[in-house]
């Protein structure tokens, strides 16, 4: 019977090992919080596999890229990546296809007599440089959260240390600047304190106008798959339409658009009324704040009595009346936040950020967590998600904004300017103290004739598609057409709605056709190497910026020299020899990404955002900053900021320390911000709300995903989604053409009822991915007065059935 015993022991050991491995996926505190990434290896079928973060959203999944004969042939979810643990979404599995659309841009082109004609790179860079040289102040640089960190840093340095100009903006202004102003006004420093580990520990997950089932599918699976494993997690979906996320939610709270502020205030009201707020946490770690002007980033001091009085009117009944959410559901939220035995994580993305009250609602959600003490334990966190792969890394951390400097520093702060000038080795006073134009204003100025105050004559667009994504396109983008002295330069990989109006089109290298570093939503910095050659003459965006700077250097622009009279982008190889990286033949003589990243890294220490050295990133599947060097020379990442058990910058014994506090006393701020109606609400003439957004298949403006057959096949065109009752009243059925009209324009779309989602009565939804149906020609350009982020989720629209005989105008 010994054999039997042996078998039995083996069988038990097999099952125990599997369990141990599963549990081992959660890395215990105290251990180096990352594991070394597997290096590239070749499988027997001749495929070379290497790591890269996915090109699409801000989740930051790692993929393994399979390359054979110089082309990407396969993709795997990377099992060694903590973010996605081997899983991807349909976009991630097909990310390789984005490189191979047949209409890739492969040569620089100049518009002559209305037609784009091929020119050389030398000509292209020279034309652009001469436009900049003529009037540097009127030159704008417009990038995005799809810039890699080195690309964004090169652009940032070129503008602020080189031209001495702050006219640089990322399209991230359109997607997460309200989250930034929210974090800065509450904690004094940007970006989430928690991380995705919160999703594994939370008992309750609250979605604030968020649909992660389609927008952050891998994170959504991370939450709902816990149920498959037998864990209990309560999901509360607060939204304006029933979505895929609602299908798995325990509670669905459907609120009237804009009233999320009333609901947040209603929760705070109940915490005070029921005396279930956390006296200890607030007493130790918080101050109160308000903003009587409604326009101030840092506001004015407030006190508990004032706070209590301001919230007095937000009774469950009053909130129910404003929001349409039944009073008992408001009470449910109040009771949940009042319980300390539960861990609550709030998630949000564009619903709260693309909001004319974006900063206010961000502050309120942080405030509800702080007031209730649902802050500072894994699973207790207010966490914003981002939509672009490096919105955090490049836009927020590198600070490619008209008012920011790298590492969370500000152009308006003299000390910050001096510090950056020193790090950049440029003369004092080089950095302009006046913030530049924010995105909407930048494009308005570009579309305004020069003699009427349009002070921007040239915009260089990299890695984004403003011709499709700016709000109220006719005013903010299309206005450029016909203005002879305005010049639009676009670097992109495919023809887009933006290249339609471009005067100069530059072909760019995409994703694994170049080296790169991204920063995801949980402060994780992720590096990858170039794995295939770009098509034709396509080149990396960082090279374009360096080449432009060098051409200006040759033309004699004084800003392109540092204090020692050297070119601002001077690189050296390991032997100390200078490498002319501006000459493309030598661009890859060294790893310019490594040089740029390690140069940028020095800026991140001031605000304790220590990013890891490039060589550490090479070894890891991303590291969450602050990444701090240990006595033994190793580097440790930080999962939870401001919390003593995880963050090395917290004073020992403090427990929690907000060490960049606005009030300089290590406390976070609990804000009061009132509910106010939207800037354009439905009325008799325009009786519906119009909300825009994304679908799972397509990412951003669809430039890449619409060229992947599997994704386009799944979702070929835009539609208007409406409530069945509204459709019935308007006499519209599935597939009928509807005419949508706002005060800004008209768009005809097919109707889809009870398809992907069902909006509340009185609201219609249109996805923005379809370049043939530009919904942003009719959206509103109004923005949050503090973050300057436009509201794409709310404007008034009227809808009618399109008569068969009426052709589209």
């Amino acid at each position: 019977m010994q054999r039997r015993d042996f078998l039995r022991a083996t069988a038990l050991a097999a099952a125990t090992t599997v369990i141990a491995r599963r549990l081992g996926a959660t890395i215990p505190e105290g251990l180096p919080a990352y594991v070394a990434a597997t290096t590239a290896d070749v499988t027997p079928d001749g495929v070379r596999w290497d790591k890269a973060p996915c090109r699409f959203c801000g989740t930051g999944c790692h993929v393994r890229v399979g390359v054979k004969d110089g082309r990407v042939v396969a993709i795997q979810g990377d099992p060694a990546a903590e973010v996605n643990k081997g899983l991807l979404c349909m976009k991630g599995y097909h990310v390789g296809g984005i490189l191979y659309g047949k209409d890739r841009l492969t040569t620089p082109q100049l518009r002559r007599n209305g037609k784009l004609e091929a020119i050389t790179w030398e000509e292209a860079i020279d034309i652009l440089a001469r436009r900049v040289m003529k009037d540097p102040a009127g030159f704008g640089f417009y990038g995005s959260g799809q810039w890699t960190i080195p690309e964004g840093y090169a652009a940032q340095k070129f503008m602020k240390a080189g031209l001495g100009s702050n006219q640089i903006e990322p399209n991230a202004r359109l997607c997460m600047s309200s989250a930034v102003t929210g974090y800065v006004s509450v904690y004094g420093v940007d970006e989430p304190a928690g991380c995705y580990d919160d999703l594994d520990a939370a008992d309750v997950v609250i979605l604030w106008g968020n649909n992660p089932a389609e927008m952050h599918p891998v994170l959504w699976s991370r939450i709902v798959d816990r149920r498959t494993r037998g864990e209990k997690v309560v999901i509360i979906d607060m939204g304006t339409r029933r979505t895929r996320s609602t299908a798995l939610a325990d509670h669905y709270l459907e609120f009237r658009p804009q009233t999320d502020l009333a609901i947040a205030n209603g929760i705070a009201h109940l915490l005070l009324a029921n005396d279930t707020w956390d006296h200890d946490f607030v007493g130790k770690h918080c101050n109160f704040r308000h903003d009587p002007t409604g326009k101030s980033l840092l506001g004015e001091a407030f006190d508990l009595d004032g706070y209590r009085a301001a919230l007095a009117s937000y009774t469950p009944e009053y909130v129910a009346k404003l929001s349409g959410v039944p009073a008992e559901k408001i009470r449910l939220l109040g009771e949940l936040f009042g319980r300390r035995d539960l861990r609550i994580t709030s998630l949000w993305c564009m619903g709260m950020n693309q909001h004319t009250r974006g900063t206010a609602i961000n502050r309120l959600v942080h405030g509800v967590h702080l007031l209730s003490g649902h802050w500072g334990r894994p699973g207790d966190a207010p966490t914003s998600l981002t939509g672009q792969p490096s919105a955090c890394g490049t836009a927020r951390e590198v600070g490619t904004l008209c008012n920011a400097l790298p590492g969370g520093l500000l152009v308006t702060n003299a000390e910050h300017r001096a510090e950056c000038e020193e790090l950049w080795n440029v003369p004092p006073g080089r950095i302009n103290p006046e913030p530049g134009h924010h995105t909407v204003l930048l494009w308005e100025k570009f579309c305004t004739p020069t003699d009427k105050g349009g002070d921007i004559h040239t915009i260089f667009v990299q890695v984004t598609n403003p011709g499709q994504t700016l709000p109220d396109l006719n005013r903010t983008f299309r206005g450029k057409a016909g203005l002879a002295d305005k010049f639009l330069v676009v670097s992109d990989v495919y023809p887009t709605a933006t290249t339609e109006l471009a005067d100069l089109v530059l072909p760019a290298a995409l994703w694994v056709e170049k080296n790169g570093v991204f920063g995801n939503s949980e402060r994780r910095t992720q590096q990858w190497f170039k794995q295939v050659e770009p098509p034709g003459q396509a080149r990396p965006d960082a090279w374009m910026t360096i080449a432009l700077a060098h051409r200006l250097y040759e033309l004699g622009h004084p800003g392109m020299r540092d204090q020692d009279d050297r070119f601002i982008f001077t690189f050296h190889d390991d032997a100390g020899r200078e490498v002319p990286a501006w000459d493309f033949d030598h661009y890859y003589d060294i790893n310019t990404d490594r040089a740029l990243f390690d140069e940028y890294r020095r800026f991140t220490f001031h605000k304790h955002k220590h990013v890891a050295p490039y060589d550490e990133l090479v070894k890891a599947h991303g590291l969450r900053w602050p990444v701090v060097e240990q006595a033994d020379g190793t580097f440790n990442e930080t999962r939870f900021r401001f919390m003593e058990f995880s963050d090395p910058f917290v004073k020992k014994g403090a427990g929690i320390q907000f060490y960049h506090s606005v009030t300089k006393d290590d406390r976070a701020l609990i804000w009061f911000c009132p509910y106010e109606p939207a800037t354009e609400e439905p009325d008799n003439d325009y009786p519906f709300w119009l909300c825009t957004g994304r679908v799972i298949e397509h990412w951003h403006s669809g430039t890449m995903t619409m060229r992947v057959p599997q994704l386009r096949g799944s979702m070929p065109n835009a539609y208007v989604e409406m409530n069945p009752a509204d459709a019935r009243k308007l006499g519209l059925a599935n597939g009928d053409m509807a005419v949508l009209e706002t005060r800004r324009g008209r768009l005809d779309l097919p109707v889809w009822i009870d398809g992907r989602a069902t909006p509340q009565r009185g609201l219609v939804f249109v996805p923005f991915f379809d370049e043939r149906q530009l919904i942003n020609t009719i959206t509103l350009g109004d923005f949050c007065p503090i973050s300057k982020e436009p509201d794409y989720k709310k404007c008034a629209v009227r809808i009618r059935r399109r008569p068969a005989e009426e052709l589209r105008a």
């Binding site: 070394a36 396969a74 599995y93 191979y100 209409d103 798959d225 895929r244 599997q710 065109n717 599935n734």
Partner: protein, 254 residues
Amino acid sequence: MKASVSKFAVVVALATFTTALSGYFMGLVQADRAAEQRLRPAEESPVADVSTAITAPRYADLANREHQPNHGWSNSLTSLSPAVDFTADTPPLARGAIEALLIKRASRRAYNGAPPTVPHPIDQRGSQSCLACHGQPTRIGDVDVPRMSHALYSQCIQCHAPKNGPGSALASPPAEAAHPVLANSFSGLQPTGGTRAYLGAPPVMPHTTAMRQNCLACHGPGGSSVIKTTHPQRQNCLQCHATDALRETLPPTP
């Protein structure tokens, strides 16, 4: 007298019943018109000659009635094959079947290892209905329904995209015709064969086991792979077929 009263009662009852019954089926047939042509209350109905009343159709005839929406529909309940027999050895596929299966398989994925696309319209809102067919090997009519090759995840539609869009509910607008599908030259990795130590040795797996833990989903009866097990009765595939350490991307050991 007593007899005639009861006879009369039977006739009235029968007439009422018949009217009600035929009315019910009329209602089924013309649900929309039912509201306009409301039936008169039974007590107002004249006592009719039963022989002229519309007779209710038999259930068995329903499908073949010409004015019915399901006219011409044939169910194949009787032709449903029994569940796959996992106890018997099965012969390898014929050459023609192999080619057909290869083409079908390639048409449903971007590369070997990509999540297959869905060849039919789906519930756009959730994944609950997927498991009704894909939870176990199923054959409906002459269609083999593959089951999941991996452990249960809650969000099937996170990875599996319907190949032909939202289906008839949302027809492409005319703009689609003017701007055809953009060509893409991505050429995905194709499957390769595994190695054997010697003739007759069990082949080594030529792919990773990630997302393919359930071997029979593809290699069992009705599966999408051309390599069909000849011995589906054996459940522990990894006992004989080794994984290829050179392909596996296991998390590094701590």
